[in-house]
């Protein structure tokens, strides 16, 4: 299985505050939000890579980078073996798609369903629209001319998925596609996404904060914290025997119908403007050592997955 997507040392910083002319004259230095801070990852063809993180982890930014909605400030990005730059941008955009979290705000409320699904094509192609709608389980005759507000939440999300597959994109980034849906709809949409993946040979980056959902859909998972990947590998390894203390505390924080006690980590999610020195999790880590607040641990191999933690890097 080759790598469909490969990123090396990707960084993306945003300006925290707007710097106007007067500020510049006063010598005020720009302050950056380090949304994605030196991330390397590869996604294999045909797999679902689950990207797990809480708010402020940088997962949404990473998703946007991989779909070329944002350009990285530094680092390399390879898509289907080609390096992504201005000349290859069109090629990449022809082959990627994105499904967003809030189905209603991701569709233009003034357009009809068939116009929305045709967006990637540049003009309305009813034949392709009908095919895509059938694949997601929507009746063309019944819904094609409706507006999004006439549809239910589940149907709207299906339209968003149909739009993502209408141009035979190979790589789809899904940013919390079921987080805004009701419990009884989540299973429907998740199962649909899995079926489509095998039917059409797709590759997914599935971004979520819900670990159980990530376990259900993903083959491999990556855990993000404060702009960095702290652990990633096969889901069985990461979930059953989490190595990184953050992953362990995440597992202990999620509610399960088998365990009454939750054991969350202490403290708050760190600021991306001024992250803690050394390992970003060290202020909250129950196993913190001296070196943790001084040097950032690199990602190394450990028991079948990669982890960035001094506990495993002597």
């Amino acid at each position: 299985m080759s790598d469909l997507v490969k990123i090396e040392n990707i960084k993306k910083y945003y300006l925290a505050y707007k710097i106007g002319i007067l500020d510049r004259l006063a010598g005020r230095k720009p302050v950056y939000v380090r949304a994605v801070d030196d991330v390397s990852l590869e996604i294999r063809e045909g797999e679902v890579m689950g990207l797990i993180g809480e708010s402020g982890s940088g997962k949404t930014t990473l998703g946007k980078l991989l779909v070329t909605l944002e350009t990285p400030d530094s680092g390399k990005f390879y898509f289907m073996g080609k390096e992504v730059n201005n000349s290859t941008l069109n090629f990449v955009r022809n082959n990627v798609a994105m499904v967003f979290q809030n189905p209603y705000s991701s569709l233009n409320p003034r357009l009809s369903v068939r116009e929305i699904i045709s967006e990637p094509l540049g003009h309305v192609d009813d034949k392709k629209v009908a095919e895509a709608m059938e694949l997601v389980g929507l009746n063309y005759r019944e819904h094609a001319r409706k507006r999004p507000r006439e549809l239910s939440g589940g149907q709207v999300q299906r339209v968003a998925v149909a739009r993502a597959i209408v141009k035979n994109a190979k790589f789809i980034v899904l940013d919390e596609p079921t987080s805004a849906l009701d419990a009884s709809l989540q299973a429907q949409v998740l199962n649909l996404l899995l079926d489509l993946k095998s039917k059409l040979g797709l590759t997914y980056l599935f971004i979520t904060h819900n670990m159980a959902v990530a376990y259900y859909v993903a083959d491999r998972v990556a855990i993000m914290y404060a702009g960095k990947i702290v652990e990633y590998g096969e889901k069985e390894s990461v979930f059953r025997k989490p190595a990184h203390p953050y992953t362990q505390s995440l597992m202990a924080s999620i509610p399960k119908m088998s365990e009454k006690d939750l054991k969350p980590p202490s403290g708050e999610v760190p600021s991306l403007i001024n992250p803690p020195p050394g390992c970003r999790f060290n202020p909250r880590c129950p196993f913190a050592m001296d070196i943790c607040s001084k040097k950032e641990p690199p990602l190394i191999d450990y028991e079948g997955r990669k982890v960035a933690c001094w506990l495993y890097n002597k």
């Binding site: 009884s184 709809l185 299973a187 708050e268």
Partner: protein, 325 residues
């Protein structure tokens, strides 16, 4: 019995006519119980919380009774009910960023709560005692530097911190009934877990009855002693949380539990989640008979024409389903 809700019905006046939302809600909740009210959007769960605290919009039509220690909240005048809000019944809401007054410090708002508590207890206002009560409440909610927090404004706090400040207010006000309307839905998973543990501590300290309203049944399992399942504005099932989750009786509860992603299910990598066909009905167009019948795998003829009553089974469970009548 601390909280007795009887035959609570809530409807709304709209330009399309009267919409019936909550129907036939009857619940008994004792002090110290944490009741998890589980429902999807469109189940009426938020309306329930707002009905008890009399915070529904003016277009709402309410009937029935909500008794807290013998006093019916619904029969009180507007003036009278304000004396019960805060100290008898307290509500914590979903969006932390609109819960506190943005132009007053945390300290000001906690002192305000302390003053209200003292007034209602018939004591004269003592600022020092109020301040101490506030600091202690913040300490109980695990704030490492309470004096610093007292001077902060809400916009300087994170969502989780704000929810903890609201819980600190609850600690100061010592309500008999605490209604939590999706208080952790806007929070990160680790912060949610922190707040859930604080809820449990609060319940132990204050002996309050807690109604924890949520769409997340796994979360309801972790925090509640009892589970109430709401669908289309009706109670479908009501029972002890462990037994409801292990042996759900109502088909909706069964399907809900079978369809929700939960790590306890994924004992093998290839478990498949079940989905419920169709979607929850809109209140403008409720089906006749049992409201779940169009989606129910065990539907019979009677289900389509007559709505079942909520009946008690022998295992201390209440179910609204023809399978059990």
């Amino acid at each position: 019995m601390l909280l007795k809700i009887r035959d609570l019905n809530v409807g709304y006046k709209t330009i399309f006519g009267k919409l019936n939302v909550l129907s036939d809600i009857s619940l008994d909740i004792d002090r110290n119980e944490i009741v998890g009210i589980v429902g999807e959007s469109g189940s009426g769960k938020s309306t329930l919380g707002h009905a008890i605290t009399r915070l529904l919009p003016p277009s709402a039509i309410v009937s029935g009774s909500v008794n807290i220690d013998g006093v019916n909240m619904l029969s009180l005048s507007e003036n009278a009910i304000t004396k019960y809000r805060g100290t008898t019944v307290f509500m914590i809401l979903q969006n932390p960023f609109t819960s506190l007054n943005p132009v007053k410090t945390v300290g000001y708002q906690l002192l305000e709560a302390a003053r209200i508590r003292m007034e209602r207890d018939g004591e004269s206002w003592n600022e020092d005692r109020g301040y101490d009560a506030s600091i202690n409440a913040l300490k109980d909610l695990r704030f490492p530097d309470p004096e610093v927090i007292m001077r902060k404004y809400p916009h300087q706090l994170s969502g989780g911190q704000i929810q903890r400040v609201v819980l600190a207010m609850a600690l100061i006000l010592k309500p008999k009934v605490l209604i939590a309307d999706e208080p952790t839905s806007a929070l990160d998973v680790t912060i949610q877990a922190q707040v859930v543990n604080l809820f449990k501590d609060l319940n132990r300290e204050l002996n309050t009855a807690i109604l924890f309203i949520t769409h997340d049944i796994s979360l309801a399992y972790v925090i509640s002693t009892r589970l109430v399942v709401l669908y289309a504005g009706r109670i479908m099932e009501d029972g002890e949380v462990d037994s409801v989750v292990k042996e759900p009786m109502h088909p909706y509860t069964q399907k809900l539990i079978a369809g929700v992603p939960d790590m306890s299910k994924f004992t093998t990598p290839d478990v498949r989640l079940e989905s419920i066909p169709g979607q929850p009905p809109s209140f403008m167009n409720l089906p006749s008979g049992c409201k779940f019948n169009p989606r129910c795998p065990f539907v019979k003829d009677i289900c389509k024409s007559q709505e079942p009553q909520l009946i008690k089974t022998d295992s201390r469970r209440m179910v609204r389903c023809w399978l059990y009548e």
